[in-house]
Amino acid sequence: MTTTAPAPARSTMPLLSGRVTGQELVLLGVITLLWLALGVSTDTFIQAGTLSNLAYNVAPIALVGIGMTVVIVCGGIDVSVGSAVTVVTVIVAKLVRDQGVSLPVAVVVAVGVGALLGLVNGVLISVGRVHAIIITFGTLNVFRFVALRIFDSEQVAGVPGTLAVLGGGQTGETLHVPHAFVVMLLLAGAMWWYMRNTAGGRHLYAMGGDRLAARLAGVKVQRREVLAYVLTGVLVGLASCVVIGGGGLIGQNVGVGLELQVIAAVVIGGTSIMGGRGTVLGTVLGALLVGTVASGVTILHWPSQLTSLFVGVFILVAVGTDVVRERSRRRA
């Protein structure tokens, strides 16, 4: 990965040094252990069907998680993503069913509507100077209202398979790997690189670390902030396509609670909820860990509420690590 000269014992890439990788390595280790344990103790986990299903389920969470990581790193949060998915999903599902639009048109509309919703959040937060959690909590409810009006008190049934190429079925896979998962990995890789290696990416961290100081250093704080929410909206659009591709029936509860799964993945992935620290790689691993646990609980026929317990423990451990780290810093 390093494109710089490999100098022994010192890295010139900031995020490869120190504890950030530590958290990612730990996550990777935990996931590997879980996979090994599940593979040994069950006959069904290490099977193409199970794993591709796991990958498909993780994809939308990780996709939105990419945007959420950016938003949280630069000091905000977006709790409206679940409702935004509902809005995009119902609009695009109805277009596909009633107007018979093609795949490219459906994707463009999804991304466009998502970006618009993100723009609304970004502008309100940037102009209103109210904490992002309040603004997006408001838009969560407004988006939900909009979505329900479009649903018009019915489910959207009989959606044709226009988006199945991004879905969880046979058409959505190549060699048992869901296309949605591949798209997510490509985008995550691109974002990861951007955040590590470009001035614009590093400025996101500066903003989250100290907003005023970042502005004084010449960072266009407001513009970058709005863009972070727009990016999240774009990813919400893609995630919605993945959801629609998954099946012919879109219920009114689609997307409900997604924001919590996404934020869980981001936090477990080592991103500080206070901003200034975190990576997209961590978020993808966080989403994979949550997906693995959910899948494992199902396969082992354990009560499904155990998933919540495990996710809760992971979040507390991740946040605890963060707190311990900050305290030890302050003592230094």
């Binding site: 900031p14 040094s17 590093r202 400025h203 961290y205 004084l216 200034g276 620290r277 810093r329």
Partner: protein, 509 residues
């Protein structure tokens, strides 16, 4: 005024006739000073003397009402901090302004990254920072470490390196030593000397006068918005600088009263916390007012926090009426009849959105209860009204929300809270900070009154005239420990000199 500056090079910065007013307050009254290349130029003065205003104008953070500034021989308009930085004037503030989660190299380059082909050239940045650090005699290995992992002292060095990365020719250090230990100060001074050897000019702001002799060559003393004089440091002593800062002694308008001399009601023995302060010994008798006076960085504010139970001591004892008490939290302090008035009203003192009555009776709920749980609003109002009258709180009524009041009136309300039940011991921290003159007198009168009723009062303050005015005894805290003690008739210059590190005045008590 008089200008016997040690000339160590040509004039780099020259300000002439600078004036600046904030409302009715004239912060600068026509200040002229010259700073030379390769010189460490100290600017000293008491709080409010005008040094920070002068610095703000020179660094472009504020603009002057009148006067000229020239830099490197050419007149300049210092329109913004960016303009100042463009000229090569950099300011390092007391608290490092850095991004904790970025590396040192990134911090130094943030906003002007070296970009090649769309991506940051980490290697080039790191190399440049290593060269810069080596150049300044700082450890090269800092370059790729996250700033948050470095000590405060190292962070300050990074701030200086950041300033120097912009090719600063005039470096302003605003009380750099206040947050450092002795050892770290040595390292700072070594760094300053290296910069000066390269022809950089340094303006050095400090309250610790003893330091000036170790690192500066020129001293400008300010008082009341004017410059008292500029001298070669070596021609002066701590004592002389202190005299100039204070000016002629004002007649001490101290209320006439006899200092009581009973058994100590509050007694601190060998009190210490970490490396912030140690071996604090103070006794306060019933009815006595003792002031703990120390400069910024002396640790005096940390002592107050410990007495409040906000932080726990790591050594020594606090005794009230001869019995040791464990002040493990503010509630425990209150139960030992130890009351306190914190300096940070906003965070520790008031409930801004609540009424005056609420603010006064908070913590005394048991006195206003009916049937064991209902608040007796009528009685609450009566007590609040009484105290408001007694303290001359200017407000429509006891139900006025606190944030509708001026700072002085808010402070009176917080003080009133301590008067609902007269405490045995009252600790006041900067009781009149940010309060107008009228309210200040009111507060002093009340404190004295409380003492006369038998409360032992400890005032922790950096306001020397105030300390001398209300205290029966004044204990100087320097470098984290109690040193000399003065009576109420001590001269300001003597106390200041002792607090600022003139060890020769130990016998001045």
């Amino acid at each position: 005024m008089d200008d016997g500056t040690a000339s160590r090079g040509e004039v780099l910065l020259s300000v002439d006739g600078l004036t600046k007013s904030y409302g009715a307050v004239r912060a600068l009254k026509g200040v002229s000073v010259e700073v030379r290349r390769g010189s460490v130029h100290a600017v000293v003065g008491e709080n409010g003397a005008g040094k920070s205003t002068l610095i703000k104008i020179v660094s472009g953070a504020e603009s002057a009402d009148a006067g000229r500034i020239s830099f490197d021989g050419a007149p300049v308009a210092m329109a913004s901090t960016n303009a100042a930085m463009g000229l090569g004037i950099a300011t390092v503030y007391q608290e490092p302004q850095l991004f904790a989660d970025l590396t040192v190299a990134e911090n130094i380059f943030v906003g002007r990254e070296i970009v090649r082909g769309g991506r940051i050239d980490w290697r080039a940045q790191s190399e440049r920072v290593r060269t810069l650090l080596a150049d300044l005699g700082l450890p090269e290995r800092y370059a790729d470490r996250q700033v948050g992992d470095l000590s405060v002292a190292a962070q300050q060095q990074v701030s200086i390196a950041k300033a120097m990365a912009g090719e600063a020719r005039l470096l302003i250090l605003d009380e750099p030593s206040a947050i450092l230990t002795d050892n770290e100060i040595d390292i700072l001074f070594a760094l300053v000397r290296r910069l000066v050897a390269r022809g950089v000019a340094v303006i050095y702001i400090s309250h610790r006068l003893d330091e000036l002799f170790r690192v500066t060559d020129t001293v400008t003393v300010m008082r009341d918005g004017d410059i008292v004089g500029t001298y070669p440091t070596d021609d002066l002593s701590v004592r002389e600088i202190a005299e100039m800062m204070v000016g002629h002694e004002l007649a001490n308008d101290r209320p006439d009263r006899d200092a009581p001399d009973g058994e100590p009601l509050l007694s601190l023995r060998g009190l210490g916390r970490g490396d912030l302060f140690h071996d604090i010994d103070v006794d306060v008798a019933a009815g006595e007012i003792v002031a703990l006076y120390g400069l910024v960085g002396s640790g005096v504010d940390e002592i107050a926090k410990t007495l409040y139970g906000v932080e726990r001591p790591t050594a020594g004892t606090i005794a009230v009426a001869g019995r040791p008490v464990d002040v493990r939290n503010p509630r425990a302090a209150q139960r030992s009849r130890l009351a306190m008035l914190p300096s940070d009203r906003k965070h520790q003192g008031v409930f801004a959105f609540q009424s005056i009555a609420f603010n006064i009776t908070t913590g005394h709920a048991h006195r206003f209860r009916r049937f064991g749980f209902l608040m007796d609003r009528a009685r609450e109002n009566t007590v609040a009204k009484d105290l408001m009258a007694k303290l001359a709180v200017k407000a429509p009524g006891p139900r006025t929300p606190l944030n509708a009041l001026s700072g002085g009136n808010q402070q009176k309300v917080v003080l009133a809270r301590q008067l609902v039940e007269r405490p045995d011991v009252l600790v006041l921290e900067e009781p009149t900070q940010g309060v107008d003159v009228g309210a200040k007198e009111e507060i002093h009168r009340l404190v004295t009154e409380l003492a006369e009723q038998g409360t032992a009062i400890l005032v922790v303050t950096a306001d020397l005239p105030e300390a001398l005015r209300i205290a029966d005894r004044l204990v100087v805290v320097r470098q984290g420990t109690t040193t000399v003690e003065f009576g109420p008739t001590a001269r300001q210059a003597d106390v200041l000199a002792a607090a600022a590190g003139d060890t020769g005045s130990e016998d001045a008590a």
